[in-house]
């Protein structure tokens, strides 16, 4: 980090906090604070929806995903546009007409209080823990790459977000989302330009694309019907549809974004714009990762992209073995570079037989270098068994820190902080709304004035922010429990989605039937979790299906 980078980063963080406080204003009524007075235009709604979903991990991990596994991850998003259509057509007019603040409030109008309270509490548990991870995950990566104490990065993100979210509520969240989205776009575009300029003089952009393609990294579509493969066209369309329907239709952190639209039309247009832009955006981020891969076919990459782990192994008793493997890796990488250039020569000649032969030799060289890298990872784990063998999350930021010029590095780091703050601010805002509207105002103090609820909402935002920061500080000590918290979301999403689908589409099902069905669905998901080896990605489908079918069966006996 050079002085110019520090200047850019600190200036941006200070500016965004001041801007959020300024644009958030001082709302005195609860609709102004929690729904931005329902005055947002569709462009702001759209950017706010996209910024909420795209956390810092999206921008740090997705390019690494393309580097390691190719671009097929883009298929995961294919169900999203279809979910946007369903939500725009069904949920948005209902929510607007009923003038609800939260999605769970709608469930009381449709069913009863107990169903509303159950879903609101499930959301608070799940999203409260997730907010801590939203801060922790990018903080860990930034601290490792930059050599900062993780408590500093957690404190910076947490404090900045709490200040403007508590001060300005939803208006501050939505307004800052627009500016933060702009700097993220600028940071990613600048990185792409630098990446292209960093390619060797004799390797053009098209050459880089061709090499990435021949290495199998541009595999955007896989139409196979292999159910064991997580990312295919069909799993993306079907599984991605259910996941997006759950997230955008029932998660208050997203519902609150489009409820701030001034009309049904503005909310719908915001969602549909997301449906148009999300897939190309993810494609662009993955393509950036594929280009980082191409870059490292002509420039030697680090043997392991997590610098903290390589530094630790060099100080351990495994240091001599690791040094020997590093020397072998340099040789293997040099061989791979030579094969990559041969492949380019063959492609330029247009001789298909020569291309096939060169591609075979290039892939063989790639497999050799990966085998040496695999041996290095084993040594890292031998030295420190608790070390994470995956360095995918560090690939992109490692390139950024190593190759971006002064100023642009600060810009890119500001973009990473911006992405983290975007998701966190929306989560805290939604947690505060649900706490105030579905719990405090509904169950504890129903008849207070607007100013009281606004003050309580600010206090709830600060409290949830403090909880998220505390959980983020503690998350590093949880080890495997961090993964368990990720699974936690899937334990509840299916049940909540099932309740909402019944509410929207099965008009004859009543409150008691759906409440019992939700308990049955949740029990089924927890049983799958405890007693079977079913992948947690299927919990959404199982929970949702059990709730819908149970509701239908129970409603025949008891409406």
């Amino acid at each position: 980090m050079r002085q110019l980078d520090w200047a850019v980063l600190v200036s941006w963080l200070a500016f965004i906090v001041a801007y959020g406080v300024w644009r958030g204003g001082r709302s005195r009524d609860i609709q102004g604070y929690l729904l931005a007075g329902k005055e947002m235009r569709w462009g702001t709604v759209a950017l706010s929806i996209m910024a909420t979903q795209a956390s810092a991990i999206t921008f740090l991990s997705t390019p690494g995903q393309a580097y390691a596994d190719g671009m097929r991850f883009v298929q995961f998003y294919f169900g999203l546009p279809l979910a946007m259509i369903v939500i725009a057509a069904v949920a948005v007019p209902l929510f607007h007409r009923l003038k609800v603040f939260t999605a769970y409030e709608f469930l009381e109008r449709r069913f009863d209080l107990k169903t509303r309270t159950l879903t609101a509490l499930l959301f608070l548990v799940q999203r409260g823990l997730a907010a801590g991870l939203t801060i922790y995950a990018p903080s860990l990566i930034l601290s490792v790459i930059l050599g900062w104490d993780i408590r500093i990065t957690i404190a910076i993100i947490g404090t900045a977000v709490v200040i403007y979210t508590a001060s300005g509520g939803t208006r501050a969240v939505s307004r800052t989302h627009v500016l933060q989205a702009a700097i993220i776009l600028a940071g990613m575009a600048a990185t792409f330009v630098v990446l292209l300029h960093s390619l060797p003089a004799d390797v053009s952009f098209l050459d880089a694309v061709r090499v990435a393609g021949k290495a199998g990294k541009l595999n955007a579509i896989d139409p196979s019907l292999n159910l064991k493969d997580r990312y295919t066209l069909w799993s993306g369309l079907i599984g991605g549809f259910f996941l997006a329907l759950s997230y955008f239709g029932t998660d208050q952190s997203q519902v609150q974004r489009y409820l701030s639209g001034r009309t049904v039309t503005e909310s719908r247009l915001g969602l549909l714009f997301n449906g148009l832009a999300k897939v190309p955006m993810q494609f662009a981020i993955l393509f950036l990762g594929a280009m980082v891969f191409a870059f490292y076919q002509f420039t030697a990459p680090p043997i392991f992209f997590n610098p903290a782990e390589t530094a630790r192994v060099r100080l351990s008793r495994e240091a001599p073995r690791f040094a020997a493997i590093e020397a072998s890796y340099q040789e293997a990488v040099a061989g791979r570079q030579a094969r990559a250039r041969e492949l380019l020569t063959a492609i330029r000649s247009g001789d298909e037989a020569a291309v096939d032969a060169a591609q075979q030799r290039y892939r063989h060289a790639g497999a050799e270098s990966e085998a040496v890298r695999g041996a290095a990872v084993k040594v890292i784990q031998a030295a420190h068994p608790e070390a994470n063998p995956s360095d995918t999350n560090f690939i992109f930021l490692s390139f950024v820190v190593g190759h971006l010029p002064a100023g642009l590095l600060g810009l890119m780091l500001a973009a990473v902080f911006a992405a983290s703050m975007n998701s966190t601010s929306a989560e805290l805002n939604a947690l505060a709304s649900t706490t105030v509207i579905d719990v405090y105002r509904r169950l504890i103090r129903p008849n207070a004035g607007d100013r009281h609820y606004v003050t309580f909402s600010r206090a709830a935002t600060v409290a949830w922010g403090g909880f998220a920061v505390a959980f983020a500080e503690y998350a590093g000590r949880l080890g495997s429990l961090v993964e368990a918290v990720n699974i936690l979301g899937s334990l509840f999403y299916g049940t909540i989605l099932g309740v909402f689908l019944v509410a929207f589409f099965l008009r004859r099902v009543g409150g008691t039937a759906v409440f019992v069905a939700a308990l049955v669905g949740e029990t089924a998901v927890l049983a799958c979790f405890a007693l079977t080896a079913v992948s947690f990605l299927w919990y959404n489908v199982i929970g949702c299906a059990v709730v819908v079918v149970s509701s239908l069966l129970l409603s025949r006996r008891r409406p």
């Binding site: 546009p81 003038k99 109008r109 061709r210 595999n219 955007a220 579509i221 066209l233 049904v264």
Partner: protein
């Protein structure tokens, strides 16, 4: 479910600013997805 619309809410069936009807916009979003999938497939095949 039959409450009057909130101030500023001009009703569910207001036509969108482009396309003439919401149905056309929904079809447009679905068609955009279909075109993207087709383009990505061509992209995959062109460089594999």
């Amino acid at each position: 479910m039959s409450e009057p619309a909130a101030p500023g809410i001009r009703g569910d069936e207001e036509a969108p600013p482009v396309g003439g009807s919401w149905k056309v916009l929904y079809i447009g979003v679905a068609a955009n997805l279909a075109i993207l999938i087709l383009l990505f497939y061509v992209f995959t095949k062109a460089f594999e």
